[in-house]
Symmetry: C2
């Protein structure tokens, strides 16, 4: 698909705003189980379901979505190890396809899967998660011993404007002695990709944290609203926690850029 | 990556116009050979290189790009069979990563790989294609016995406005007795996906052929210009050839939607 005869400048229409993430997970679940509509290429070969993430500088990335549904045996070792940090009543924040909730549920923990995506929560239910909620931590009620922000979901801190409210919401839902088990990406631990370094510089010029991403997920005709997602170093996380009820109790940063942090009240 | 705290409407910047297709192929070639920069996800796990195609109605699709580099043993049977239809001096139009050119070259044919993408032609060269040209059929000189429009590249006919000039350019380059071996997609043979049917209706309302796609390829920070790509049925192809020097000599439409057509002067 290469020779662009008749090419001319033209602007595309915008995708429709909707639950692109949920539809993506539904498709990945269908591909995994063989039930439900699966994507095809040229109406011919089944293709893996791919998550497309668009950043507000025009950068686009794409990676197979099946990782959202993978069994623990297929996880990186650090992710499996993080399961051991969870106890009691668990709130899985941004539960996605429910792989963490299912793994913890199988260990006998009392898990609630929370996600703003109705499609994601449908997939969680279909896969056997018992307790599910469509919504945000700010609008949720309950009492939990562990909050899980898995698979980079420390990014839900969003940035300095959003993080205090988000962390206060978790504190409000926290039982005495509660902890947050969170995975984040250190934006300074990567390969020095010039495109990402330029985005960090652009953020600095705008007075934002360098790892402050504004992105949306696209799936077929749908796009989520643009949302903020934060990559921060453990040191930056420490700064963000200042003035909140949370502090860093432990950080496992044995991997170069991904780390697991345990926060305590 | 799901809870969208702090979500608010915002418009992203446009990607930079450039050789997104060529850079995609370079990345897929690097992933296949293990040499050169490979994409990673969260600076951690290597991920397959994925081609992202955006349509001008906002629809986006994504599929692994490795198929552009696959060996004949991994091709669908109909594609392998189509190799037998090629003879003499071959012009591979829209050669991409050179998989067809390489396969024909190994059979002893005298193949020229033509692509508008400099990156695609670089990959062709690195993979061992001897004759390569960056450019379009309209700007190219030579004499050929076979023109190859592989892997849906009948789409390069673009539409009724572009097709006559494109076909005239091929006729100008044609040796006596030359043929076109072309693969196309019948837009009416698919699964009845409502999103695609709506796009066809939109085209009809605009006086375009139903299968007339306007798309661009996106890769990281780059996008190709928007270009036209035509899905047409064998009957519509016959109509498009009217008034040109080409006629359909044979169509293999044993698959439901993809077909191989041989055109002759």
């Amino acid at each position: 698909m290469t020779e662009r005869s008749g090419a001319r400048p033209r602007t595309g229409e915008r995708p429709r705003t909707g639950d692109a993430f949920g539809e993506l997970l539904r498709a990945a679940h269908a591909a995994r189980t063989g039930r439900g509509p699966r994507p095809v290429l040229g109406s011919r070969d089944p293709v893996p379901v791919v998550e497309v993430v668009e950043r507000d500088d025009g950068f686009i990335s794409a990676a197979p979505a099946d990782r959202y549904l993978a069994e623990p045996s297929a996880w990186p070792g650090a992710d499996r190890a993080a399961l051991d940090l969870c106890r009691g009543r668990v709130l899985d924040v941004g539960a996605g396809g429910g792989r963490i909730a299912l793994a913890l549920q199988e260990r006998g923990l009392d898990v609630t899967a929370l996600d703003v995506s109705p499609g994601a929560i449908d997939v969680c239910r279909e896969r056997g998660v018992h307790r599910t909620v469509v919504g945000t931590v700010g609008a949720h009620d309950g009492e939990y011993d562990t909050f899980v922000l898995w698979c980079n979901n420390l990014g839900l801190l969003g940035g300095p404007a959003v993080a205090p409210g988000f962390l206060a919401a978790l504190a409000r839902l926290a039982a005495p002695g509660a902890r947050v088990v969170a995975q984040g990406t250190n934006p300074y631990g990567g390969s020095g990709d010039p495109v990402h370094l330029a985005y960090q510089d652009r953020n600095r010029r705008r007075g934002r944290m360098p790892g402050h991403l504004t992105v949306r997920i696209r799936h077929r005709e749908l796009a989520t609203p643009w949302f903020d997602y934060l990559l921060c170093s453990p040191d930056e996380l420490r700064d963000l926690l200042r003035g909140t009820r949370w502090r860093i109790a432990d950080v496992d940063d044995s991997e170069p850029s991904r780390y697991t942090a345990v926060l305590r009240l």
